[in-house]
């Protein structure tokens, strides 16, 4: 029974990780580099929601919507200002630069928010106990949102012009450009989308956890784990890997101390990189 409880929590963790990783993976596919600062965008959104909700007294739905839009625009702004001018220097320099960006965003959040723990003004979670397994309404919401986001993202990428353009660019930018796709507009759309997804994940973080300013950056470790397992690119594999990492971390608590959760996530990373560097989905982009 306890095992099933851990499994359920694992699914919830996995769904959160899916939300947090999809945007990261999308950036990696289209822009071609690992944006370490993605995790700090979760923080931007989480603390914007907190400020609007708990300090300004906005309703949580309104506050989170505003926070997501703000995060989305922040992401695009950072990309235009910092990443675009050094694009031709290659993924390694972009990766290193993004750690600098993470420093700056993290510092700004620290300066504005300060230390201490923060919670949203949304009331305590209601818990249900079907078949003796405890799950809260907030946890169910994370699962539902992960499903909705995955499905609508799949539809977006397969059915709309912009979505198809994004996929074309992730496959082969030069070819996409020569076929008449506006590379700059598509790139901007991708930044808005991936940062917006980071924003959504940030709201979920604020709903599920008590916020501290170092919490968002701690998520990058798990996000990286999921992204690598998924093969640094494929979107469908992100869903599977998110669940695998989430469940592996929470179920491991059944046997080993809870402090080892990040260790479990990273053992997954190391094993994958050593034995199957191309990730679950292989070299073929989904």
């Amino acid at each position: 029974m306890l095992f099933l409880q851990f499994l359920t929590t694992g699914v919830v963790t996995g769904c959160f990780l899916i939300l947090a990783t999809i945007g990261f993976s999308l950036t990696r596919r289209v822009e071609g580099f690992l944006n370490i600062a993605h995790a700090e965008l979760l923080g931007v959104s989480a603390f914007a929601t907190w400020w609007l909700n708990a300090e300004m007294g906005w309703h949580v739905v309104l506050a989170s919507t505003a926070a997501i839009v703000f995060t989305s625009v922040t992401g695009l702004f950072v990309a235009r200002l910092i990443y675009d001018p050094i694009r031709e220097r290659g993924p390694a320099v972009l990766l290193i630069t993004s750690t600098g960006v993470a420093f700056v965003i993290g510092g700004v959040i620290d300066a504005l928010i300060g230390t201490g723990i923060r919670t949203l003004d949304i009331g305590l979670a209601t818990s249900y106990e079907p078949f003796g397994i405890r799950i809260t309404n907030y946890q169910l919401m994370v699962v539902a949102l992960a499903v909705i986001v995955s499905v609508s993202l799949a539809l977006f990428l397969n059915r709309t012009r912009t979505g198809l353009a994004i996929r074309a660019m992730s496959g082969n930018p030069e070819l996409a450009a020569s076929r008449g796709i506006d590379v700059r507009t598509t790139s901007r759309a991708t930044w808005l989308l991936s940062s917006g997804l980071a924003g959504l994940a940030g709201v979920m973080l604020a709903v599920l956890a008590t916020l501290t300013t170092d919490l968002p950056f701690a998520q990058i470790l798990q996000v990286l784990a999921v992204a690598i397992l998924a093969g640094l690119g494929s979107l469908y594999a992100v869903i599977l890997s998110g669940l695998i990492v989430g469940i592996a971390m929470d179920v491991s608590v059944y046997w080993i101390p809870a402090g080892y959760r990040p260790l479990v996530a990273f053992s997954v990373v190391i094993l994958v990189l050593l034995f199957r560097p191309e990730g679950l989905a292989g070299t073929r982009a989904a």
Binding site: I86, F103, V108, V269
Partner: protein, 309 residues
């Protein structure tokens, strides 16, 4: 503000971290390896030093090993431990390139950090090992802090000289050849894999020794001292000083440590303003980092100097 105290601290910490930056410079600028887990090798050195000098566990101690050996042996052990750790982590990871290598080394560092946090039998878990042994407390008329600053500076200068000698030898030219054109170097009969591994191992030795010295200086080996932030700070120092020059790496580290020390010792009126200053320090560091990566001023100066010579 006690500027003399700041100066001594900057020399000590700047030299200790300067050793790490120099080693990273060797790995990245010469070997072409992105090591995003450099802090782990530093931590291994610090913990090895602490474990070898600590007395056997007693009372509330949760650690299992404490050898109580003299400090010179422990310092050698620190360097050896880092070398061994590099051998263990380098063997599987060095097959990977670029960002994949960056991620694996990052992952190894995180696993190691998490291990130190949770495995109380190694170093008391989160509490860490306190009262790490310092050599002797009585240095006659010279104050202990100057001895430390001198020792750290010596270690850094030794590292610098050895690396410079190495890089100016035929071996160093072979390294540059591999970095610039791997296929050509391979065709000329250089084993790329083996040389990359050698550089990785060689550069771990001074990092371990610096870690041991750091544990000696802070008298503490605690997981919270060895977070990913240290890795980023070292990277920032390296980039600030210009990737291609050994002196730049040292200058970058000293500059950054000086900046941090000034912010840390500045007499702030309230706790809140000290907090804000610490965050602003992060922001400024990050901005400098981004700007230097983008405009590469030091690389340009170095090129110009080379051109006029």
């Amino acid at each position: 503000m006690n500027w003399l105290q700041i100066f001594v601290t900057v020399v000590t910490l700047g030299s200790i971290f300067g050793v790490v930056t120099l080693s990273l410079n060797l790995q990245y600028a010469r070997g072409g390896m992105i090591n995003f887990g450099i802090v782990a090798y530093f931590a291994v050195g610090a913990y090895a030093y602490a474990i070898f000098t600590q007395p056997a566990p007693q009372g509330l101690d949760q650690y299992k090993f404490g050898f109580g050996w003299p400090w010179p042996v422990a310092l050698v052990a620190a360097a050896t431990a880092a070398l061994l750790f590099a051998a263990i982590t380098g063997w599987p990871t060095l097959r990977l390139r670029g960002e994949y290598l960056a991620l694996t080394t990052f992952a190894f560092a995180e696993v190691f950090h998490s291990f130190l946090l949770n495995e109380r039998r190694i170093g008391n878990g989160t509490v860490g090992l306190a009262n790490v042994k310092r050599p002797i407390s009585d240095w006659g008329p010279i104050e202990e802090k100057y001895v430390f600053a001198g020792a750290a500076a010596l270690l850094m200068i030794a590292t610098l000289l050895v690396f410079r000698r190495l890089l100016r030898s035929p071996y160093g030219r072979a390294l540059d050849a591999i970095r610039d054109d791997e296929v050509a170097a391979l065709a000329a009969g250089k084993s790329v894999q083996r040389m990359r591994r050698q550089v990785f191992l060689i550069s771990a030795i001074p990092i371990g020794a610096a870690g041991g010295l750091y544990a000696m200086f802070t008298t503490l080996a605690q997981p919270s001292l060895f977070t990913a932030e240290v890795t980023f700070i070292i990277w920032i120092a390296l980039v600030l000083g210009g990737e291609r020059s050994v002196y730049g790496a040292v200058a970058g580290t000293f500059g950054l440590i000086f900046f941090e020390e000034v912010v840390r010792t500045w007499p702030f009126e309230t706790v809140r303003s000290a907090q804000i200053a610490a965050s602003v320090e992060h922001i400024v560091t990050g901005l400098l980092f981004i700007a230097v990566l983008r405009y590469q001023p030091f690389d340009r100066i170095a090129e110009r100097m080379k051109a006029t010579r």
